[in-house]
């Protein structure tokens, strides 16, 4: 009985705002990319991290990685200066359907495995908890 209630109540689909990612990325093309940051665009609706990925042949390809809205991160105290050029990142996601060097960044981590921009200060607390 308890379990059934739980399913009923918690049925708020966390619908990703803006677009359906399935329309842009191909779930048959998973990618894992490791590379150095060349740029980060703090733009909406999605921030983009650009990284230089060195292939097995030594060739460098620049990839664009789609993240969420940067406003969340800015409110948590991160700024456009928070990700330095040259930082090494590992990205897990799926490649764009149009075959370009673009992927979504489902997991974005540093070399030591820590997630990019996790934490930060939280201004999301309402003024008065009681009311």
């Amino acid at each position: 009985m308890r379990t059934r209630l739980a399913i009923v109540i918690l049925a708020v689909a966390p619908v990703w705002a803006h677009h359906a990612f399935q329309a842009e990325f191909d779930d048959k093309k998973p990618v894992t990319l490791t590379g150095k940051v060349t740029d980060m665009e703090w733009i909406n609706p999605h921030a983009w991290i650009h990284i230089d990925v060195v292939g097995p042949d030594g060739k460098v390809t620049n990839w664009m990685v789609e993240c969420g809205s940067p406003n969340i991160m800015l409110r948590r105290g991160f700024t456009k200066r928070s990700l330095e050029v040259g930082t090494e990142l590992t990205i897990q996601g799926y490649q764009a359907k149009n075959g370009q060097n673009k992927a979504n960044g489902s997991n974005v981590t540093f070399k030591d495995g820590k997630k990019l921009f996790v934490g930060g200060s939280n201004p999301d607390i309402p003024e008065d908890q009681k009311q």
């Binding site: 703090w42 940067p70 800015l74 991160f78 700024t79 456009k80």
Partner: protein, 206 residues
Amino acid sequence: MWQTGSIGAEPAGQSVVEGGPIPYKPEKLAKKKENYENRRTNDPEAKCYMPGVPRANYMPYPFQIVQSPKGILMVYEFASANRFVNMGKPQEAGSDTWMGTNNGKWEGDTLVVDVTGLNGLAWFDRAGDYASNNLHVVERYTRTDPYHIRYEATIEDPSVFTKPWKISMPLYKVVDKNAQLLDFKCVEFSEELLYGQFKKQTSSTK
């Protein structure tokens, strides 16, 4: 251009720039020329992008200045752009935006707005004048009589210009009965320009 007849044409207007031409660094003029030559497709206004500062204030569409105890909001018809002027302790821009980070204060009866954090992607006008994301604009709004504001803006961007330069113009109060802003949500007019090449080609679209 022939497709819109004289509607798509740009008549002359006298310059609002004080003291001569915009002082570009010589090597930065080529980009302005390129902008101008491709303005029908490259002007961010054609793409319905937000116009930035100071362009938003002198587009041919009305805007409204809302003065509240909490700060000042400028609401523009074009592209539903707006910007909130913080009248408290100045805040720094966390990231670059189209309408900038606006910090304001009063100097006597003049509203002074310091605008930073502009992304350098907006143009100044339809002639392709541009700047970079080092752009810094200081605006001054002085009401000279019930129906006019003298609007001045000092523009500096050491990456693009040899020195700061200034524009100055009157803003005219709209005195129509029941005047109100009407949205100019122009995205739909820009989609063919931006995405037409990606549409599915059928016999009717070829």
